[in-house]
């Protein structure tokens, strides 16, 4: 197998990277019809598998689960999830030959093994559905020519996929059809029907390609979503402790702060988040985020370049082959950081205090979101795709940090994202060493406005607002958010 993207001529690379169409709700008028009466068999029954299956069944579709023999015999969690909700469960041999659509919801790392096991069992003309394109694009998995290959990727954790469905809504979803495997031309209709089945069609569907999804997803998760949140959290905590701020307070500010701050991002984009600061704080956050962008730009570009060239996936797959040597070492090291080991103090921090006392994180988030977005767009990814993989997902990841710090974030995200996150973190911290020496507690730990008279120059403020509001991530974001206005707000502790 070789990297699929690298086998393409440049013209076709650009072509596939550029698939990006925010679909109108009228595209879904046919409902679930394209899958009605078909047999859907889901491989794996973790959080995504179970919750998508519950939704599909409640939409009138026929859903069963197939698990490996050992999982069934051992009555593992996946088996319990499926049987306790009254789904049919069977081995690959029992269920795959009858399936019209095989839905692969296993982790990336297992894809090659799973697909190699199920493909020979699949009937002529069946469909194989992925929720992530790594296996096809980076590993270059070749699928039998009679099989249709599609992707449907809800952009939320599995529990949200269910929660939004039962309240009559859904979560934003990305769909794609693999151009090498659409022999009957039915791929798009089936992907759309699947969206209706999970409720995603109500919350905004982005038509993408396997290539665009992989290249943007990897970039987003390595840089702004996980990498930078990890780096920013650790540096902020260490700085506060160094400057004599109470460690319990510092731990709580960092653990929950990023969630509160990015909640504003979710509703009003980067400018909405910046608007939560006082004028003086906003000017300062703007200045340091500009500086942060300049410092980190080469690193963001390197990550994007390595993702495009396949260098990233090559080195990660080497680590897979080495039994996850690097991944496990980095994971252990993250667990040993002072931030991870210091429990949040029993202090009350008000919602506004998270902004006023954590201006540094606001600057990190602005710099990271804009840089990730800009770098992706420069590399040929369309703005809508770049928005989903940068700004849109940041609050979702921040929510995992609020739950159980970096441990939880790295547990919830895929191993691929986790690997990329550590890679970024280790490269980013040294880059920021000089910058951090200049940071004091007014930016992190204490109220920035304290002891300042609060006045700013009108023209400076207007110029800053103009720069923030006219950034392309804001323009695209305003349009996409309109279609997602009903997104529930994440409850904070």
């Amino acid at each position: 197998m070789s990297n699929y993207f690298n086998t393409l001529p440049l013209r076709e690379k650009l072509n596939q990277l550029g698939v990006c169409d925010f679909m109108d709700s009228s595209e879904f008028l046919d409902g679930v019809n394209a899958l009605k009466g078909k047999k859907l068999v889901i491989v794996g029954c973790g959080a995504q598998g179970l919750n998508q299956g519950l939704n599909l069944r409640d939409s009138g579709l026929n859903v069963a689960y197939t698990l490996r023999k050992e999982a069934i015999e051992g009555k593992r969690d996946s088996w319990k999830n499926a049987t306790e909700n009254n789904f049919t469960v069977g081995t690959y041999e029992e269920l795959i030959p009858t399936a019209d659509v095989v839905i692969n919801l296993t982790p990336d790392k297992q894809h090659t093994a799973v697909v190699n096991a199920v493909m020979p069992l699949m009937k002529q003309g069946a469909t194989l559905l992925y929720s992530h394109g790594f296996n096809i694009v980076e590993e270059g998995m070749q699928i039998r020519k009679d099989i249709t290959v599609i992707m449907v990727a809800p952009k939320c954790p599995g529990s949200e996929v269910r929660a939004e469905y039962v309240r009559g809504f859904g979560v934003p979803t990305l769909i794609a059809v693999h151009p090498e495997n659409d022999p009957e031309g039915k791929g798009l209709a089936q992907a759309k029907a699947y969206c209706v089945g999970t409720g995603g069609h109500r919350a905004g569907v982005l038509k993408s390609s396997f290539v665009a999804e992989v290249k943007s997803d990897l970039m987003g998760e390595q840089t702004i979503l996980c990498g930078l949140l990890q780096t920013g959290s650790i540096l902020s905590f260490d700085k506060m402790v160094e400057k004599g701020i109470d460690a319990g307070y510092a731990s709580k500010l960092v653990q929950y702060g990023v969630e509160v701050i990015t909640e504003a991002l979710k509703h009003g984009g980067v400018s909405g988040m910046m608007d939560r600061l006082s004028n003086v704080a906003k000017v300062k956050a703007f200045e340091i985020s500009e500086e942060l962008k300049d410092i980190m730009r080469p690193l963001f570009q390197k990550h994007q370049d390595d993702i495009m060239s396949g260098e990233f996936s090559r080195t990660m797959m080497e680590d897979w082959a080495a039994g996850d040597k690097n991944l496990l070492a980095w994971r252990a090291a993250t667990g040993e950081t002072a931030f991870e080991k210091t429990p949040a103090g029993d202090v009350k921090i008000g919602e506004q205090e998270y902004f006023d006392n954590y201006t540094l994180m606001v600057a990190f988030v602005r710099a990271g979101v804009e840089l990730a977005f800009e770098t992706m767009v420069q590399a040929g990814i369309k703005p809508e795709s770049a928005y989903y993989e940068s700004l849109h997902e940041t609050p979702l990841i921040a929510n995992t940090i609020a739950r159980k710090k970096l441990f939880e974030m790295n547990r919830v995200i895929s191993d691929t994202a986790e690997y990329g996150c550590y890679l970024f973190d280790y490269a980013c911290k040294p880059l920021l060493a000089d910058f951090m020496t200049k940071v004091d507690t007014d930016l992190v730990g204490k109220n920035f406005n304290e002891g300042k008279d609060g006045s700013v120059d009108n023209r400076t403020l207007i110029a800053i607002n103009e720069v923030l509001r006219s950034h392309e991530v804001e323009v695209v974001g305003a349009r996409l958010r309109k279609a997602m206005t009903a997104m529930k707000s994440i409850k904070t502790a």
């Binding site: 409640d58 319990k80 909700n85 009254n86 929660a163 039962v166 009903a486 502790a493």
Partner: protein, 491 residues
């Protein structure tokens, strides 16, 4: 004379920027047990929370406790609604999540929850068992919090309070969701702790109260007014005293067969625990049923099957509107024909929707509004808003309203599409008696047009007159099915 337990001087309090309490004065002396009654939105809950110092402490509320007493020197408040958290301290749960089984448990068991509560307050563990038994809670000890129904959550809060025996106990609508026996036992337990030295403030509009209640008050125009038992009056009567909107008088179309519900040997179990056993039940179009049973008898589970909220519907022989469940229908096609209100629906309803959005969302069976409803639906909604007396709250967010007003909005939502099947699971929780009476009259009116009705209510006074059949559940089994000729008698 000893110092008063609570002394309030000129308390002014706003609820979401609207003044509710104005120069309120109140003195609670030793040995007094108060009932605070009155209309929804008069400020009862705000007052209770202020006394318990929830969220904020006020300098014009003085509380002084008896230093000689062995009981905890604090004012403990039991909310009208429950709230629980998962093991990570979050409360991000969703509607009917308890029916979707996930192998990884994320909430504590009742037992663990009680143990941590007891430890925190240094309580004797042998004392809690009697309380659990009296409220019919013993069997739930090994359940996890997510599995509990709203009524059971409410009971768990009461169990904790009764076990704690604080010097001042404030209970906000404690009888909501409790069956007849539990209410009786709750009163006995309250009398017991009052005997032991706890003083009570009870917020309720019920008439069956613990005998130790010796003072009654209501809140009028922001001030506390003491009244006698006979003076308990209801002044919210204008609410439903209007012509029923015409679109609700149109005959409902029973598009399907005569048979609305048909269950054949329906069984529901979680692991070893069987919740419904061999249920056989048929409901024909136009029939008016009351569903009775104690807390925990399986009523909620039975209704969740009908509303498309229970995954085990797919494993049973069960027909809805003439079609077998699991034969290709979506739950949205089912919900489209049902108007539902239940404690769970209320609890998990989108708090950030406005009253108007909440009511319109009844056309789409969603929690919150996600599309433009078009002219005729908007017009019907406006008519109903006026009918329910909610005009001035039209654009208010649900979470800015007191419970009773929220409930009125959700009742409007339930009937806005004039559905063929109405499922009213304790519809009048949080309403006062007059509002309840009017709502039931409205239900009678709707039912003249061929609507099928399933009604759940623990209070005899809350059953509409049109009811003609009764099904009684006991421990998950059908105990009896009977035709009624007059108002049902509760067991």
């Amino acid at each position: 004379m000893s110092k008063p337990v609570v002394h309030i001087t000129n308390l002014n309090l706003k609820y979401r920027n609207k003044p509710v309490l104005q120069d309120l004065n109140w003195t609670i002396n030793a040995n007094e047990n108060w009932l605070v009654c009155g209309t929804s939105g008069s400020g009862k809950t705000s007052l209770a929370k202020a006394i318990a110092r929830i969220g904020h402490s006020y300098s014009n509320i003085e509380t002084s406790f008896n230093p000689q007493s062995s009981l905890p020197a604090l004012a403990y408040y039991v909310a009208n609604w429950f709230q629980f958290k998962d093991l990570e301290g979050q409360s991000n749960f969703y509607y009917q999540q308890r029916y979707n089984k996930q192998s990884t448990e994320t909430t504590a068991t009742v037992k663990a929850e009680l143990e941590s509560f007891g430890k925190k307050h240094a309580l004797q563990f042998n004392e809690v068992d009697g309380i659990l038994a009296a409220l019919g809670f013993s069997e739930l000890k090994n359940s996890t919090l997510i599995q509990l129904s709203s009524g059971e959550h409410k009971k768990l809060q009461l169990v904790k309070a009764l076990w704690l025996k604080p010097q001042l106990l404030i209970l906000d609508l404690p009888y909501n969701g409790l069956d007849v026996l539990s209410r009786k036992n709750l009163n006995l337990l309250l009398e017991e702790i009052s005997e032991a030295g706890s003083q009570l403030i009870l917020i309720s509009n019920e008439t069956e109260l613990p005998s130790c209640i010796n003072r009654i008050a209501t809140i009028e125009e922001g001030k506390l007014v003491e009244i006698s038992a006979d003076e308990r009056s209801w002044n919210d009567i204008e609410t439903f005293d209007k012509q029923v909107p015409t679109f609700l008088s149109e005959a409902v179309i029973n598009a399907s067969s005569e048979e609305i519900i048909k269950m054949i040997n329906v069984n529901i179990s979680y692991g070893e625990k069987q919740v419904l056993k061999d249920i056989n039940w048929e409901v024909k179009a136009g029939e008016k049923w009351v569903l009775h049973g104690h807390n925990g008898s399986g009523k909620s589970t039975l209704l969740s099957l009908i509303c498309g909220d229970h995954p085990q519907a797919y494993a049973n022989d069960f027909h809805l509107f003439g079609n077998k469940r699991g034969s290709g229908e979506s739950i949205w096609e089912i919900k489209e024909r049902i108007g539902l209100i239940s404690p769970e629906l209320h609890w998990y309803f989108d708090p950030s929707a406005t009253v108007w959005q909440s009511i319109v969302s009844g056309f789409y069976d969603s929690s919150g509004l996600f599309c433009d409803p078009g002219y005729s639906k908007k017009a019907q909604t406006d008519e109903l808003i006026h009918y329910f007396g909610l005009d001035e709250y039209k654009n208010t967010l649900m979470n800015e309203l007191p419970l009773g007003k929220q409930r009125l909005a959700l009742l409007a939502r339930t009937i806005v599409k004039n559905p063929e099947l109405l499922i009213l699971d304790e519809p009048c929780q949080g309403l006062d008696q007059q509002q309840t009476l009017h709502f039931n009259k409205l239900v009678d009116e709707l039912c003249k047009n061929g609507t099928t009705l399933i009604y759940v209510g623990h209070f005899e006074s809350q059953i509409p007159g049109c009811i003609e059949k009764r099904i009684l559940l006991e421990n998950g089994e059908v105990n009896s099915v009977e035709i009624l000729h007059k108002k049902p008698i509760l067991t």
